[in-house]
Amino acid sequence: MTAFRALAAGALAVALAFLVLPVVAIFVDTSPGELLASLGDGASRDALLLSLETTSVAVALIVAVGTPAAWFLATRRFRGKAAVVTLVELPLVLPPAVAGIGLLAALGPQGLAGGLVGDSLVLQTAGVVVALTFVAAPFYLRQAQAAFAAIDPALLEASRTLGAGEARTFARVGIPTARPGLAAGLALAWGRALGEFGATLMFAGSFRGITQTVPLAIYDQFATDFPAALALSAVLVCVSAVLLGSVKLVTGAGPLGVAAR
């Protein structure tokens, strides 16, 4: 083994320890009994159901709109494409607080489109979905675009010469070929949506059963009932892990498989 190889392996060990330790600590401090008891707590259960509901809707919206959009970005060349890609990816690097302010400024009662949406979004479940979609969409778009771009152009060309239109090529060749990458993007976006905190609090507020998602419930319980907050955190870790794992499994990437190229 070269010295560099050893160094790289050491770096991986450091990274792994650093990233895994907080997650392990959550489970060390939570007994299985507490974990189950937290599921029985009304506020925690409401938060879990709301999180599942809002993230599902957000991810469905992201996939429905994001997949053809990513296809366009991956298969077309046009002026200003780099700028468009950057704009689409921008929410990726925005702090959630900036996302929250931006959503208020755009879609709040006094925002740019305030006359249009009124208060149908702010402090409403629909507002949670909007916040989640905003922060999570770029994760999917990015991966999906990369996955479509990685398809061998000869494959798409063959589809066309065999008489398939672009829609058919997209559905029959593009999506199946890019499926592992799309799945990885979906999993990332879903995970990001499940963890969303700042933009949700600023734009949608925090109200049990309406806008209080799991991260908000954890923050709420942190001050009053630390063991409950810890248990709910453990539940969120499990739910996220199961979601990500099953998405990859179902779509063929394999839970430990290689993500997008």
Partner: protein
Amino acid sequence: MKGVLLAALAVVLMLAGCGDDDGTSGGPPGDLTVSAASSLKEAFTEYSGRFAGEARMHVSFAGSDELAAQIRQGIRPDVFAAANTKLPEALYAEGLVETPVVFAGNRLVIAVPVGSDIQSVEDLAEPGTKLAIGSEGVPVGDYTRAVLDRLDPSTRDAILKNVRTEEPDVKGVVGKVSQGAVDAGFVYVSDIVAAEGDITRIDLPAELEPDVAYGIAIVKGGKNPEAARKFVDGLLTGEGARILHDAGFAKPR
């Protein structure tokens, strides 16, 4: 090879550097770490600026209950300033802080946008009125519930039905009112002063007003107890007391 080693060293240093940001370590003598209630933001920011000659100031603001929970989890600021006396006294009983003292008072009021139709607590019970309040456990939320409990039950329940968001700290309530997301919220009079004209206030009738007292305590195990003592003294009698007064806080009773 050398470059790789340097890069690895940089990563290690970066990781080590991250450890200093969480407020658990005060660093070399001369640093003073203060955990303060959100409602103290403007007053303490100004006071910290004046106090900078005595120590390098690190002040973090959040709901008092979140800050108390951090202290219970082992975070050791030098000073803990809360928007009630309950939390510092509880930490004192747990042996985590020195004897707390009351350093300021405040008044709970209703915040409304300028030009609002709302004129009284009873107006908040109107169906369709949207309200923001503090969540349970954060002082402003507890004061709000104490006020509502003094109303007749039907009015109280009608008002609670109008609540659209329970915010983790008072500044969250202020933000929801000033953004027009809600029609009204319960905040402190000092928050109205701090908002500088974006929102206005409706005073509560005297019989409903809760007794809002701010407690402060030096945290045991803090790095700089000497500066902490000076910081607290200045709030009680010195420049801090004047700044608090200008910010809309009352003298401690």
